[in-house]
Every structure is written in C-alpha cells, then in structure tokens.
C-alpha cells in the first residue's frame, strides 16, 4: 500500500495504491509499466489505454485518451504550496494598471489589475467575492512569474 496526496481545486486528494502482483491498483483501475516512460492503464470496464506521464517540479503531467491532467503532489508534512487568496502573476510581465484599491470589496469576476506580458494585455480577475487586503505592485512595476500581485480575503 502506497499513499500519496495531490492538490486539487476541491482540496487535497489522498490516493492509496494497492500492489496486486505486478500491477498497481486503485478502485477498479489497474496500472502497469509499458515502455519509453509510458504506462498501461486498464479501466474498470476492461479497456486499456497508454498513458504518458512526466513530472515537472512537484506536478505530474498525465496524458490519457487525448486529455491532459496535472496533479501537484503534496509531500508529507509540507504545507500547501499556494498562498490562499493570493493572486499570482502567470508569467513575467509589467503591471499596466491597478483597477482597485486596498480595502475595496469586490465580486468574483471583477478585474483587479492589468498586466502586459508576451506583448498582450491580460486582466487579473477576482476568483471569489472578497476584500482586497493588500496590493503588492503598482503600475509600471515589473513582476516575475509567480509573484503575488494582490491578496484577496475571501468574504464569508
């Protein structure tokens, strides 16, 4: 029995694998090593497919039947990697405009900031209803990828 925790939008998911002979199993699915870094998955209905998997940082990227899934592994004992409520820069760029002020209440979907990256403008949008607790960058500043741009406190 091997146990792993992965992050998901609904909170952490615990996955417990059973070893059955040479295969790994999880609730009716079965997995075996194929070749060239690929895995053979047998679905509960008996059909098989070949999965590609590769790990980049903490994230497993999995390709299966034309779909790609990303599962961030949470190592035992570590806290969640994401600052909750922090809105991060998706890539390096420049802040063009800040559309809110600290303390302002916003609804989900409100544009908070305009970022320029890859020669295009991108809007940073509130993911939930909440209150802007802190603004970390002002217009004109350069931001690195992953930089927390604003803190948003979720409204109860």
């Amino acid at each position: 029995m091997m146990q792993y925790t992965f992050a998901s939008s609904d909170g952490p998911i615990e996955v417990t694998l059973a070893r059955h002979g040479e295969a790994l199993q999880l609730s009716g699915y079965s997995l075996a090593q194929h070749d060239r870094g690929r895995l053979l998955v047998t679905l509960a209905n008996g059909t098989t497919c070949i999965a590609h998997a590769t790990k980049v940082g903490d994230v497993w990227w999995v390709h299966l039947n034309g779909r790609t899934y990303r599962w961030e592994r949470i190592e035992p004992g570590s806290s969640s990697a994401h600052d909750e409520g922090g809105l991060v820069a998706p890539m390096p760029g420049k802040v063009l405009e800040v559309l809110v002020r600290e303390g302002q209440s916003v609804e989900a979907g409100t544009s908070l900031m305009v970022l320029e990256a890859m020669k295009m403008e991108h809007r940073i949008v509130a993911s939930t209803d909440g209150m802007v607790a802190h603004i970390h960058f002002q217009a004109g500043e350069q931001v690195a990828q992953g930089a927390v741009l604003l803190d948003l406190e979720e409204t109860e």
Partner: protein, 502 residues
C-alpha cells in the same frame, strides 16, 4: 539572382522557409537571438548568425544588424516570413538600397496596404467594397479620444476599434456598449503603441455573424496575378485565428470567382508582387467587404497549399528571382484544416503559458502535416509569440478531414507546458464546426463563460492512478537523469560546450 537567402525570422515559419531553400538548392542563413540558440530553425540553415541584444527590438527587429548579417554571409536576398519586419516598408527599402533582393512586394505596396486606413481608402478607390466605418486622422494626442468618440457615434454600435498599423489581433477591441468605449479605446491605443509604435485607431462597424474569408493571391513580374481560392478563418479567439480551412465549407464557385476577382483587383491596385492575402468579411447576406491585405506569407498558408497543390513559399522564391510562377490553373481538391497550437491556457481566457516541453510527441500518419518551430526538450519562454506549431490535415472530404484532425489531436501528447490542444479537440466536435456554419463570434457563442475541458471522472480517476503509479515507479527520477545527460551532464568534461553553437 537569388543564390543565398537570409531568413529574418524564427520559429516554425523560419523552418518552413529554410527547408524550401534547401530543396530549391539555394543557400540559407538564419539569424538568431541569444535566447534562441539551439532552436530548431537554427539547425536547418546552412549558416547561422548570432545577433546581439536581448529584446526583440534589439534582435529580430534590428534592421542594421540583419542587413550586416546578410552582407557578412554573402546572402543576396532576405525573406522576412510573417510578423517582425515583414510588413515594414522602410525595411524593404533598406534591403533594396543595400543591393539585396526583398522577397515580398514593393515598399509602396506594403505602405499602401500596411496602413489599414490608407488601405481602406485605396480599396474604395479601386471599387472593392470595404466595411462601413471611419478612419480618424487626428494627430494631436489630446484630441484623439474625442475624435474617436465622434466617429464611434457616427458608425454606431457594436463597433470594432482597430490599430491602423495593427495585425494579429493586437490593438483591437470590440465595443458593444458606449459606456465601455473610453477604456477600450485607451487599451487599444496603448497596445498599438507598444506593439507597432503607432497609436492611430480606426473604427469599423462590427459585423456579427460574419465569416472571415480570405483569398490567397500570387503575382509575378511577368504580368500574371492569380488567386488560389479562399481560406475560411472565422474561428478566432482574442481576434486571433485558431482554426482555418480550405475550401470554405459554404463557398460556391460563383462567390469564389467574385471574391477571387476582387482580391486580384486589390493586388493589382497596388502593383502587387509575390504572395499576399486579401481578407474579407462575408456577411450573412452574402455581401463581402475588404478587411485588409497581408503583404506577406501567412500563418495559414498550408491549407491552401494542400488543396491547390501549390508550394507558395517556393513560388515566392521563384517570383523574387524574376521567374514566372510555375503553377497552372486553379485546381482545388479535397479539404484541409489547420489548427494553431498555442502555449496558452484555454480554460483561463487563453492566457499565454510557459514551461518546458518535457514531452512533445506529435501525431503521425498519412494526411498529417506538422509545421513546428519546437521539439521535445525545448523551453517555452515569454520572450516570443506563444504559437508553437501548426497541425494541418488533408483528406478527400471535409468530413474525413475533421475525422483525421480529431485522431491527430487525440494522439498529440504535450506535457510540461499548458497548450490549447484540448480546446482545439473540443472545437472539432462543436456543431458550428461540424456543419461549417462558423462565424467570427463562434467561440464566444459556444463558450460564453469561457471554455473548460469536459469532465470525465473515469479518466480523471485513472489519471490520478497514473500520477501515483508513476511516482511509485520512479518515472520522474529516470527522466530527470536522462534529461541532464542529454544536454551534457556532469560526466562530460565539456559541460559548457552546449552553449557554443552556432
């Protein structure tokens, strides 16, 4: 006489042109910014010149460096590809003034078409219908917004703000509500200035429910100007094409003839030479309106190549060399579809993405063409446009082409960087795509709240098993080590050598 071509571009289009040179027996030179060293296109050139500089302006847009590179390598012609300097008339002039052959139309033609406001006026004069709208010639910055507001009122809503120097959706904004006008106009201007150094904006009526139909033209120096039929490129997101096909699914021979003749007239109005594309909006009424002319090779040229059997890049080389073009009468056969593979998060408003192409395995089989600028192991950085590759299929019929595209996209494995491949796959199942009724607003109509991948809990669970199983089996340790070794790992006494090329 063209004997050695410098390709003033990068990525997939540079690959396309460099291969054409190689097949034609013409020497080739690539130019390469320091952050592009080791890119696929640099390996397809006979010679590579390393540019100095870090930004695009200091490298691929630096006319002096590029012309110096042509001189130092003995290149006698410059192919600009698309984007970058391809539609800069001053560069075309500079190239010619330096005794080099410019593979493209005359600087005058570029000027007349490149400035979208001038182009509208030229087309009106040539009797080609243009979209109802208004150019704003106001030069005083303080008064521009006011002038634009006035024009907007006369054109009416919904409307489209467009940069006069624009292209690729940059500096473009749709405005449905007068209340949003000021913000949209400012954003369009800022983007236009950043992208093109020219903030002039014009206004067109937004013709919703229209198709984007464009006509490929070719003109040589022997008096022959022809069209190669249409491409339909209605499916757009962020005003950028993602799905293109030829022939147009609803095209009739009569309409093709009419639009083809209009496109030839447009080209002849500016004494066009080489390959170009005349873009039209085709309204639901059957009327068509001139949008703009792209005075260069286009991203989506492969679909025309596959249905007409014309090698457009090869014809560009012939025409620049003063030869007559080699293609005969228009002969359209079968159906071709192209999708653009972007490093972007389609589920998050198509936000560009970056990362390593840890796994990049394109689909294989008959009828599939991949025009790629990247391969497995490359890093996608924010330095350049997020378009990585184009996947193009050909089949005898549109139904079969869509079937082939579905299989191809299902088999395309890209891990490590988020791409739009699943979005493209879902597009192939969308009803307007299946029945050919796509318009420029199809994506917004299909996914008014944005696209999200369809949920399949069975596959999702299986993918969790794969992630956990791969962790157990240590697949990541294997890949990490071999990746290190592939680029000259610690065992190599010359660990830094892999930075020495070219």
């Amino acid at each position: 006489m063209v004997s050695k071509v410098l390709v003033a571009n990068r990525g997939e289009i540079a690959c396309r042109i460099l291969r054409a040179c190689s097949e034609a027996g013409i020497g080739s030179v690539a130019i390469c910014a320091p952050n592009d060293q080791g890119s696929l296109f640099t390996e397809l050139a006979d010679e590579v010149v390393l540019l100095e500089g870090t930004t695009i302006g200091e490298t691929y847009l630096d006319q002096e460096q590029i012309i110096a590179a042509a001189h130092s390598t003995g290149a006698d012609a410059i192919h600009p590809g698309f984007g970058f300097l391809s539609e800069r008339a001053e560069f075309a002039r500079h190239v010619s003034a330096n005794g080099l052959i410019w593979i493209g139309p005359s600087p005058e033609a570029i000027d007349q078409m490149g400035d979208k406001m001038t182009a509208r006026q030229t087309m009106r004069a040539a009797g080609v219908p243009v979209i109802p709208g208004e150019e704003v010639e106001e030069v005083d910055e303080a008064k521009t917004l006011e002038a634009l507001r006035g024009a907007a009122q006369r054109v009416g809503y919904p409307l489209l703000l467009k940069a006069s120097s624009g292209g690729g959706g940059k500096g473009m904004r749709a405005v449905h509500d007068p209340a949003d006008f000021d913000q949209a106009a400012s954003a369009a201007q800022r983007e236009a200035i950043a992208a093109f150094g020219d903030g002039r904006i014009y206004i067109e009526r937004l013709l919703t429910g229209s198709k984007h139909i464009e006509i490929q033209v070719l003109a040589d120096r022997h008096g022959r100007t022809i069209h190669l039929g249409e491409r339909e490129c209605s499916v757009q997101r962020r005003h950028q094409k993602v799905f293109e096909e030829a022939p147009g699914p609803t095209m009739t021979p009569e309409l093709r003839e009419a639009m083809g003749q209009a496109a030839v007239a447009a080209a002849q109005a500016v004494d066009y030479e080489g390959a170009g594309t005349v873009e039209f909006l085709l309204a639901a009424s059957g009327e068509f309106f001139f949008l703009e002319m792209n005075t260069r090779i286009q991203v989506e040229h492969p679909v025309t190549e596959l249905v007409t059997g014309v090698d457009i890049v090869r014809e560009q080389l012939r025409i620049a060399n003063g030869e007559p073009m080699s293609c005969g009468d228009l002969m359209i056969r079968g159906h071709a579809i192209e999708v653009r593979l972007y490093a972007e998060d389609a589920a998050n408003n198509f936000l560009p993405a970056i990362g390593p192409l840890a796994v990049f395995r394109p689909p294989e089989g008959p009828g599939i063409r991949l025009d790629t600028g990247v391969r497995e192991g490359d890093d996608i950085t924010p330095n350049y446009d997020p378009m990585l590759a184009k996947l193009i299929v050909w089949a005898p019929s549109r139904v079969e082409a869509l079937q082939k595209m579905r299989r191809a996209l299902d088999e395309f494995v890209i891990l490590g960087t988020t791409t739009n491949v699943e979005f493209l796959r879902d597009l192939c199942d969308a009803q307007p795509v299946i029945d050919g009724s796509t318009t420029t607003t199809t994506i917004d109509t299909l996914w008014p709240n944005g696209w999200n991948p369809p949920q399949d809990l069975t596959l999702e669970d299986a993918s969790l098993l794969v992630a956990a199983g791969a962790e157990t089996l240590g697949l990541h340790r294997q890949r990490e080590r071999s990746a290190k070794e592939g680029t000259g790992g610690p065992e190599s006494p010359f660990a830094t050598l892999n930075r020495r090329y070219p």
